[in-house]
């Protein structure tokens, strides 16, 4: 009989069958958890105080998953402040993105011929397809917000200071990776929204001097975005950036094990770092306290995301990408609005009076070949990230206390305010107060865009099909089409929108002449298909009577009405 068999027999003889099986199962369990027996785990789950010696420390040295987590934290960092759990939430969203992303990958082909059809298939033929896509999309937007807030928090509490300079550096890399992940995913549905947002984004790269056109060509794989560009963005989205992300998350996490989470600034002697010098009575062990805490926050984040996706959120899918037709009000993704705002700055030195600023622009253009767009969008834009990378190395102040860091905090506040202001300027309607950044069309086309946008839905398109009464309806405040309350309401809305534009010029100084009128014409094309067009009769700046017309086809089953 073999040695192992003999031991088993001996054990059964001395303790009996039941005890032997229980003992062997527990041994296996202990091997699986790298040092915690079944009773230890039950203690963890019940929240029992740790026995002495503490077996719950062992997995942190023995096991893979726990070795990237610290054994204990200082009690002071386990409250909501100072971390707000933003780093954890970033990792949670990253994980959700990977899971939902793999699901979506199964049904997706990165080719212009197939991509859009695949998207429709995911939404109309794959159980959970729409749910997974909503989660992936909303999770990505949430991740951008959470990662940015995480950085804001780290800056505010001064946690980038020695010895965590490199942790900050990897964090900025992860912020850039997050932005690029989100941006590269934008193109994949191959609808109008994605196509034009990415065209704008890569055009920014194109404007860079010297290497810009080459970078643009490498990104797009051709002068314009097409099959090559889609494949490249897909590979960046599912291979390159996730890989960089996972590697840097690992480094980032390792740094937390190595240096701990920085204490609230007021608890530390100036210039020292005590995060790892925790007196025994201030220690909070990872198992079970931190682990259950993190699982709870992860669960809440996941639940909020999932509930959002079944209640109010639904990821947009516009019409098939059309390189020949740019929709009005095309924008980059919202987290690049500030970059669009930078591109709209009219002069290289904008605070000077107009004529001097123009003369200086001339000078820069002639001497350095530098236009305002190149300067602000391509040189200053990326400099923002260089600045972020450099923050721990250019801040000489050893103190992390808020009172000692007034200049840096003020600088951070101004920086955040500037980014928000530029983001406002980046949207097509510009900053409401100053008008900076307004790029709308003529007033008639803006009226049409408001009620019948090129992409997405406007009020004229959401009228129930049976209320679309065939005929030509004048736009009036008291419009009252029989049996069509919604149509009547929208006609009045169009009237008020026109009156608004007649009363106040838009930021470009354009105004709709007071006599301008409009009609909404509805024609039957097929039994279940109607054409709805808005016709605006106005007089242009040269005094010539003009008509602006825009039309859409609406199918009975299109599900727009609400």
């Amino acid at each position: 009989m073999s040695v192992i068999g003999k031991r088993l027999v001996d054990q059964v003889k001395s303790t009996g069958w039941k005890s032997t099986i229980a003992q062997r199962l527990d041994d296996g369990f202990t091997r699986f958890t790298a040092g915690l027996s079944w009773n230890d785990v039950r203690g963890v789950l019940r929240g029992d105080p740790a026995p002495k010696p503490n077996p719950r420390v062992k997995p942190h040295t023995e096991a893979f998953w726990f070795h990237i987590r610290p054994t204990f934290y200082h009690e002071a960092v386990t409250t909501l402040y100072p971390t707000f759990r933003l780093g954890l939430l970033s990792a949670v969203f990253f994980t959700i993105e990977i899971i939902t992303g793999i699901f979506l990958m199964i049904f997706y082909t990165p080719s212009p011929e197939r991509a859009y059809t695949n998207m429709i298939d995911i939404l109309t033929n794959v159980p959970f397809g729409s749910f997974m896509r909503d989660m992936h999309r909303l999770g990505a937007e949430a991740m951008v917000i959470v990662v940015t807030l995480h950085m804001v928090r780290t800056f505010t509490t001064g946690s980038y200071k020695k010895p965590r300079q490199f942790t900050w550096f990897t964090g900025v890399v992860l912020l850039v990776v997050t932005l690029f992940l989100s941006f590269s995913g934008y193109l994949l549905p191959w609808d109008q929204l994605s196509f034009w947002a990415v065209t704008i984004g890569t055009s920014m790269a194109d404007a860079a001097p010297v290497f810009g056109p080459t970078v643009n060509l490498l990104l797009r794989g051709a002068p314009d975005i097409g099959a090559g560009g889609l494949l490249r963005f897909y590979l960046m989205h599912v291979v390159l950036f996730p890989l960089i992300g996972i590697i840097f998350v690992a480094v980032h996490y390792y740094k937390v094990v190595r240096w701990g989470i920085s204490l609230p600034p007021e608890m530390e002697p100036i210039g020292e770092d005590n995060a790892r010098k925790v007196p025994p009575d201030k220690r909070v062990n990872f198992l079970p306290d931190i682990a259950t805490n993190e699982i709870m926050y992860a669960g809440i984040a996941f639940a909020v995301l999932a509930i959002s996706c079944v209640t109010w959120y639904s990821a947009p899918l516009e019409t098939h990408a059309n390189p020949l037709a740019t929709p009005n009000h095309t924008v980059a993704p919202w987290y690049f609005y500030w970059l669009q705002g930078l591109l709209k700055i009219p002069h290289i030195i904008p605070i000077l009076p107009g004529s001097i600023a123009t003369a200086l622009d001339q000078f820069f253009a002639n001497v350095l070949g530098l236009t305002p767009k190149v300067f602000w969008g391509v040189i200053v834009g990326p400099l923002v990230f260089v600045l972020l990378f450099a923050v721990p190395y250019i801040d000489p102040n050893p103190s992390r206390r808020y009172g000692d860091r007034k200049i840096m905090l003020a600088f951070g506040g101004v920086f955040a305010a500037l980014i928000l202001y530029l983001s406002l300027a980046g949207i097509p309607t510009g900053v409401p107060v100053t008008g900076f950044g307004y790029v709308g069309g003529t007033p008639p086309s803006e009226v049409a865009q408001e009620f019948m946008p090129d992409e997405g839905e406007g009020a004229l398109m959401t009228i129930p099909f049976d209320q679309m009464i065939v005929g030509e309806h004048a736009v009036r405040p008291d419009a009252n089409v029989p049996d069509a309350p919604k149509l009547s309401r929208v006609l009045a809305e169009v009237y008020h929108s026109m009156e608004r534009r007649k009363a106040a010029p838009d930021p470009l100084g354009q105004i709709l002449n007071p006599e301008a009128t409009a009609t909404v014409k509805i024609t039957q094309i097929q039994p279940d298909l109607k054409q709805i067009s808005i016709n605006i009769n106005f007089t242009d700046v040269n005094g010539i009577a003009q008509q602006f017309t825009k039309y859409k086809f609406i199918h009975k089953e299109s599900g727009r009405a609400h």
Binding site: G47, T78, T79, L80, Y81, E113, Y116, T117, I120, L123, T124, N125, P127, F128, G129, S130, F131, P288, D289, T292, N293, I295, M296, G299, I300, F302, A303, A306, I307, C309, V310, T319, H320, N322, K521, T523, I525, Q526, P527, D528, L529, Q531, S533, N535, Q546, Q547, T549, Y551, K552, F553, I554, H555, K556, E557, S558, G559
Partner: protein, 299 residues
């Protein structure tokens, strides 16, 4: 209050409870999504997307196809047959001997076209519309056009003015036999091309422009419009077809034809400055040439 929030540390019980509730909420959300998908949501979204693709097809049809097949798909004489009659839906596949469905037939013809007179049935060529074959449309756009055309099947249009495709061996009513051109008219045709008129206007065998009206029967059309009420109410002053053509070139805003395939014809599309850019002698030759199109024999 703020201090309470920022020093918040959930107790063990709160953690377990909140975690459990979150877990149940996640499962519930997944179940709601799954049950919705497996009962109604998928088919509703499917219907919505089908409808929206028909809408897209309608836009492409009006831009590209209505010029020859008509807004209501009734067909236009000498240009294209009906695409909305019951004859089209019931008999076309059999007539042409296509060994598959009508959908694939429409798609195939739209994509690759029908070469000129490859069959005695066709007098008129159907151009290829697929980008890959030199046309203006992507594959998905043509698929949407097919969806739009097939949407007529539920209630075909069988009025008297439907233009049916000719039976095998027949041909469309041909255009008036082209009159042999005089050297001056020949020169007029060349000037028509060299001044870029062909970029917007179509003349069978000469030009393929798709923005302005086709000029195949411009003489006949001119006579019709001069006699019309709409023309008399406009600023137009022409009394002969030649004058009408001249007026359309030098003062295009004088009269705008009311009905276009996409609805009311837009004004201001034709550039108003040809009187300045084309020398008068050349203009005369172009008008001389255009007046041969659609002119009844003997006039």
């Amino acid at each position: 209050m703020i201090k309470k929030i920022i020093t918040f540390r959930p107790s063990f019980t709160v953690r377990i409870l909140a975690g459990l509730i979150s877990f149940i909420a996640i499962i519930a959300a997944c179940m709601v999504a799954g049950v919705a998908d497996l009962t109604q949501a998928l088919s509703t979204r499917d219907a919505n997307f089908r409808a929206r693709l028909i809408e897209e097809g309608a836009r492409v049809y009006m831009d590209q196809c209505a010029r020859c097949h008509g807004v209501e798909g009734k067909g236009i004489e000498g240009q294209g047959p009906s695409l909305s009659s019951s004859n089209f839906f019931n008999n076309r596949v059999k007539e042409v001997g296509w060994n598959s469905t009508l959908e694939t037939y429409i798609a195939a013809v739209t994509k690759s076209g029908i070469p000129l007179k490859s069959s005695p049935m066709w007098e008129v060529t159907h151009p290829p519309f697929l980008e890959r074959f030199g046309g203006p449309l992507r594959e998905d756009q043509i698929d949407n056009v097919v969806r739009f055309v097939m949407n007529w099947k539920q209630s075909p249009i069988d009025s008297m003015d439907v233009i049916e495709a000719p039976k095998p061996g027949e041909a469309f009513a041909p255009l008036p036999t082209p009159v042999p051109l005089t050297p001056a008219q020949e020169e007029g045709r060349n000037l028509f091309l060299s001044n870029g008129c062909n970029a917007c206007h179509a003349i069978r065998g000469v030009a393929n422009g798709a923005i302005g009206p086709s000029l195949n029967r411009i003489y006949e059309d001119a006579m019709m419009w001069i006699a019309s009420e709409e023309y008399k109410a406009s600023q137009g002053q022409a009394t002969t077809p030649e004058e009408y053509i001249r007026e359309s070139i030098v003062n295009p805003q004088a009269f705008i034809v009311p009905e276009c395939p996409q609805g009311a014809c837009p004004a201001g599309v034709m550039p108003p400055n040809y009187a300045d850019t084309i020398p008068p002698a050349d203009l005369d030759k172009i008008i001389d040439y255009l007046a041969t199109l659609g002119r009844p024999a003997g006039e």
